[in-house]
Point group: C2
Chain length 191, copies 2
């Protein structure tokens, strides 16, 4: 089946330039079926959520995030776990995108959640914390497969290039499953 | 027992000027035993967490937050629940304060968590999400009593003044319990 024009929006949960999760999204972009595009939206310019500010209108980076979310066929979040939970930076972006509730940018949007950590947990608690948030937002988060990347320091080189072929295979399988999931539950973007 | 010099640091989880949680902290400051002081640290100036920035040294607002946390006998977080979880703004501040791990500002710090919402949940899911974070950080979070303020729009007037005497009584009881908790588990600040 041709996937021409199918678009994935990757969102890294870390602002660190050398983030393993940014690297994981780059690697995901290299194992896609023909025609599928993965663009990354970094959260560096999203300000702190403040309802007083939002009442005056979304800041431009927030508008851009919402536009990119609306255009994507599926969203792929790749994030570290901070303190057993969602990085504040990522949660803050989700908070912005969720308002106002009636036009929440994540509503009925197919979503995948993956993550890489330097240790053994592979972001498992952080991923569960994000799933709890998306229950409220009624996003369509894929259940399985899960992808938790442990010991990331051994799987990427100093330039953030994926050097672990076993992980590359798992990541490729994950992306195929995520695209299938989007076809199963997704609507045309903006519909 | 005299509480002279006992200090509470209140942290509101919302940046909104008319926040019910800011109002709740103000009300908490009015029902304290003699000698106890509650200061509020607003999170407006805390930037987004970025490990690259932190490696260069904490930004001044983060240093100030850490200093205030170290000086306080107990921390009282009053926060809305955003999307079944912690507001990104608050989680981001906790992420900053938690680094570097060996001198995490919340470690063994007595903490209370309360929250107000305009609806019926009273922030119960958000409070649980914060407790999960503080498990990792080894903060001493008081278990009971809990304080969940539902229907906040009926309990505060337009100026954010607490007008519900039943809630005032519960809040007073909560503050007494929190001070007792701090005496039970707390160390001298900075010890």
């Amino acid at each position: 089946m041709s996937e021409a024009g199918f678009s994935i929006l990757g969102i890294p949960g870390s602002l660190r330039a050398g983030s393993y999760n940014r690297a994981l999204l780059r690697a995901a972009g290299e194992v896609l079926p023909p025609g599928v595009i993965l663009d990354v939206f970094a959260l560096d310019d999203i300000p702190m959520y403040n309802a007083d500010v939002q009442a005056e209108g979304d800041p431009e980076p927030v508008s851009e995030l919402k536009r990119r979310l609306a255009e994507a066929d599926v969203v792929l979040i790749a994030t570290p776990e901070y303190n057993y939970s969602i990085p504040g930076v990522l949660k803050n972006a989700i908070d912005w995108a969720s308002r106002p509730p009636k036009i929440c940018a994540f509503r009925k949007k197919p979503v995948g959640i993956i993550g890489a950590s330097s240790g053994e947990s592979g972001t498992m608690r952080g991923q569960l914390a994000i799933r709890q948030v998306f229950v409220f937002l009624d996003a369509y988060v894929m259940a399985q497969p899960e992808l938790r990347v442990t010991n990331a320091g051994r799987r990427f080189d100093e330039k953030g290039v994926l050097i672990d072929e076993e992980l590359r295979g798992r990541l490729q399988g994950y992306m195929v499953a995520l695209i299938d999931w989007a076809h199963l539950v997704g609507r045309a973007p903006g519909a």
